[in-house]
Symmetry: C2
Subunit: 182 residues, 2 copies
Amino acid sequence: MSTDRETVLREATALLIRRPAAAMDDIARAAGISRATLHRMYAGRDALVRAIGARALEQVSAAVDAARIEDGPADEALRRVVDELMPIAEFLGILYGENALCEVPEIDAAWQRIDNRVNAVVRQGQADGVLRLDLPAAWITEAVFSLAVGAGWAVRDGRLARREAPRGVAELLLGGVGRTRG
Amino acid sequence: MSTDRETVLREATALLIRRPAAAMDDIARAAGISRATLHRMYAGRDALVRAIGARALEQVSAAVDAARIEDGPADEALRRVVDELMPIAEFLGILYGENALCEVPEIDAAWQRIDNRVNAVVRQGQADGVLRLDLPAAWITEAVFSLAVGAGWAVRDGRLARREAPRGVAELLLGGVGRTRG
DNA sequence: GCGTAATGAGACATTACTGTCTCATCTGAG
DNA sequence: CTCAGATGAGACAGTAATGTCTCATTACGC
């Protein structure tokens, strides 16, 4: 079948999100290839999971790049980053779900760089008076990703329309759900 | 060591959040008991995981009860439920992390009941004009739990002070992070 | 059509975890 | 103190997954 690494990684990701304990056999079948080929492409399960993590980080990093978060007001930057993040929420989700990835130094470092970029934008937004000062910047940053992941799950489970997701995340993040400012 | 089931479940939960693939051996050591005793307390790994899920649901359910979410305005109800949820965010986290639990009918059903209770409060809040109507109730409900779990992670990793967490979640949820209503 | 490379199917040994067992030791009630 | 019950340490077989291998078949460039 489709033996290109892109497809394999995508299918493997999709499966591992649902069943993190899936065996190589299941992963291979999900990707439409044999277990032998999967082993030829990746030295072992660890290597595969690390490749998935690296790929996920590439996607997230590219999304943040595409959002040009360093340009313009922080609130608009956050809207853009959410817009870019939602289509790849699955990749973001696996970075959250597969805690084993945090123990890979390179992956953890790469994640830290992404987190720091968003964090810097948040702090800038606070300094510019665009974002609230009474919430820790680290928490706002965490919320951006948490909400994106949560919305991704909701979309996958059919509780939230895909086209509603980006606006839903951005509106909730920036404006909150209350009609009177709490 | 401490052989009461309460401690064992708590330690097992704490470990499985970090390493969902942990072996019975690791779990026993983390709980300070021998693998033999762990097997005497729970018939097997499945039984242990299901017990953890059931315990987690009890905690979450008790938290929602304690918050009396059906009383008073919805925004205040959400603040109370966040206050009650944060101390047990780890239990909430494992319900999100251990996807295997969703496949246990009783646990999934119990979770649905909790989700529905919060969802009903959200819809009531929208009908009362307290919560925004332009965000799906299901998404707001999802966000409550997503933010609580995310804040729990941030607290565990030292990125957010524990005492800041409840207010941080409630403020972000209800008021958003922007200084101008977005 | 030919030949090289890649794939699929499956055998195989190895490893890791599980679940059960025994037995020595410890603990606590009477 | 004594004894019953609980625990810890570890042996043991069974099982599932891994990683490596071979070989037949397929796909593809020439």
